[in-house]
Symmetry: C2
């Protein structure tokens, strides 16, 4: 019985060759990992948000119980603690995103959990470790996730789980976008009461969708480098409150779209330099506003299209204002063999979070209410903070 | 009388302090150079296409005789032989271009001529030399131009004047755009009958406005490097003839806009690789067609906007197709202290021209008919080849 007694906490060994599949469709994909070999180490059953076909996320997903799966030698079984709902997660379910997991599939691609048990060859993880999924991968919206150890990154147990669950996509996007496109000059970050005579003025950036999680991170990460931010938000009820919130995070300027409806947007800038870099996650008119603020030779990076409208650019903006437009896709950045570099940056961001220097709005939702969280994420209930499922 | 006998051919020395100004407005700008100092070397009078105010080029310009101007020690007086009419020349007269010469001004910025006489300190130029204006500068639409020697570049007397008059803007734009944005892989340039087994396939580019002078040069300069070209032209009467012409210049593929109205444009490419670089001088739908052809991670360079419509780009083209958009403005390139480098490239291009390897459509127009040439350049008589004034 040595074999059994060495089994990690709460994982079971099966001696039969088959397991049940419940009401699950018997696709090759699911069957592969659900036919355990003799004396296989098995996960607990997992409650999951599953979809069998692409379509509207609120109709094609359902909460199901998945049977135990085999934990192979290099696998780690993680009891999930939290996982966010991103627009891209919804697009994947809709089938309109380049990432297309084989169906049926469990939703979600980012999250944090506690190691439940580990495969026989695992040395770097132990039950109870706090781990986040990195790089992002399919199937985080379930109570137990079994994946190769290469998908898990051990983090400090003091990290608030809702931040650990959300740091690897949006905050990392903000950090990369500030670093990868324009060599921004950092400025003086000292508080005004201890400033010397010599004050170094940092560069500036401009962004739309500033209330988004990426937007909030951009403001704070820029502030840490003494880089000014000009922030554009939608006109809506509560925009004054949103402005105040962003200013409290360190935003230099916050304008609603209608406030920028002036001939010379540069007149709004006061003491903030003309921005060298702009971020667009909206498209349409909001993208044009970013372009208007940019300085000669500036660059706009598109990383989202919330308004579902294209970006329109005048010929003279290219020729005479010498603007460049490009895009950012985190998935591509991560997949270019940068897992280690990526994890170092996540540790940096998590450090800032633990120090209270990086924060953003989220709404934690119990797993049992994940359908309500989906509805909120789909915009059915108006503008809502990022929904994070708590298991 | 030694002083007078050393005076170069046909230039006169004045001993009075004043000269006449004809009916010219006595603006400071004009007066400055038209009050000769004692014993000043003077140019012949110059017949010029002048405008006193910005407006429609066909109404605000007039043919006038300008009085002699002083030739200072470092000036070269050039009897103009040929000068083209570019869209940008028209925009300058309209006052809608960033280049704004003080008014009144003589039109034109590019041209070739023969040295008529030189200032007292000039050593590198002699009467009879063939010289082109480089870098481009105001006032080439006149019979005699007096400018500092730094504006003139001596060229081989065998150069056809219509090419010498037009090489420094459009062909140079084509050359720079092929070099400056994407590191294009050159391909095999041998004719098919002497090809080895190993054929190196060069990269490809795609361009709209392919019948333009820049477009014609792009095709030929690319061909010289074994780079494939996909060319988009407007749907119009005679497009078959235009296609044939471009193919004769070396174009791999030529499509009218309506021919590209298919779901998968890549299916049109046959054996030509997906292009890494695109050139847009039209805007609107024609720019979208260039974007459609570009390969993942491709770059589109905008250098003109003939359709007067903006460029529209989808969010997914930035994020998932990873396209980059930028602009090219020759004036900026030249003004960044690259006169010498620029002239070396012009010599290279003129060499190709003399060897018959670079040619393009032009229509030579006698100076006396410059108003007709203006009308043609303004599009009043339908699509016309580049108009080049011959003095």
């Amino acid at each position: 019985m040595d074999l059994l007694s060495s089994t990690p906490l709460a994982c079971a060994r099966f001696v039969t060759l088959k397991t049940t599949h419940g009401a699950l469709p018997k696709s090759t994909h699911f069957l592969r990992s659900r036919f355990p070999t003799f004396s296989a180490l098995m996960s607990p059953p997992s409650t999951a948000v599953l979809y069998e076909n692409h379509g509207p996320p609120d109709t094609v997903t359902k909460l199901v119980e998945l049977p135990p799966v085999e934990i192979k030698a290099n696998d780690v079984c993680v009891k999930m603690l939290a996982s966010p709902i991103h627009p891209s997660d919804l697009n994947i379910i809709e089938g309109v995103y380049p990432v297309r997991p084989p169906l049926p599939a469990v939703g979600g691609r980012e999250g944090v959990g506690e190691v439940h048990c580990v495969g026989s060859a695992i040395q770097g993880f132990s039950p109870g470790d706090l781990v986040m999924m990195s790089p992002p991968s399919d199937g985080t919206w379930q109570t137990h996730v079994v994946k190769d150890q290469s998908f898990w990154h051990k983090i400090d147990k003091d990290t608030p789980v809702e931040y650990a669950a959300t740091v690897s996509i949006n905050p990392l996007t903000a950090l990369r976008m500030l670093e990868d496109f324009v060599d921004l000059k950092s400025g003086d970050t000292m508080s005004s009461d201890i400033k010397h005579v010599l004050v170094i003025t940092g560069d500036a950036i401009v962004q739309n969708g500033a209330t988004s999680m990426v937007g909030q991170c951009v403001i704070q990460l820029a502030k840490l480098r003494g880089i000014h931010t000009i922030n554009i938000i939608r006109d809506r009820t509560g925009s004054d409150k949103a402005k105040e919130k962003l200013k409290n995070l360190g935003a230099d300027e916050v304008y609603t779209e209608s406030q920028i409806d002036v001939k010379n947007v540069k007149s709004l800038l006061a003491n903030v330099p003309e921005p060298a870099l702009g971020f667009n996650c909206v498209g349409g008119k909001a993208a044009t506003l970013v372009l208007k603020f940019l300085r000669q030779g500036g660059t706009m990076v598109t990383y989202g299209g919330m308004a579902k409208k294209p970006v329109t650019v005048s010929t003279s903006a290219f020729i005479f204002k010498d603007l460049s437009l490009t895009g950012f896709y985190l998935q591509k950045w991560i997949s270019s063999d940068k897992t280690q570099e990526c994890r170092e940056m996540l540790d940096y961001l998590l450090g800032l979070i633990r120090e209270g220097k990086l924060k953003y709005d989220m709404e934690l939702v119990p797993f049992s209410e994940s359908h309500m969280a989906l509805d909120k994420s789909l915009g059915k209930l108006g503008s809502q903070p990022k929904q994070v499922i708590k298991f």
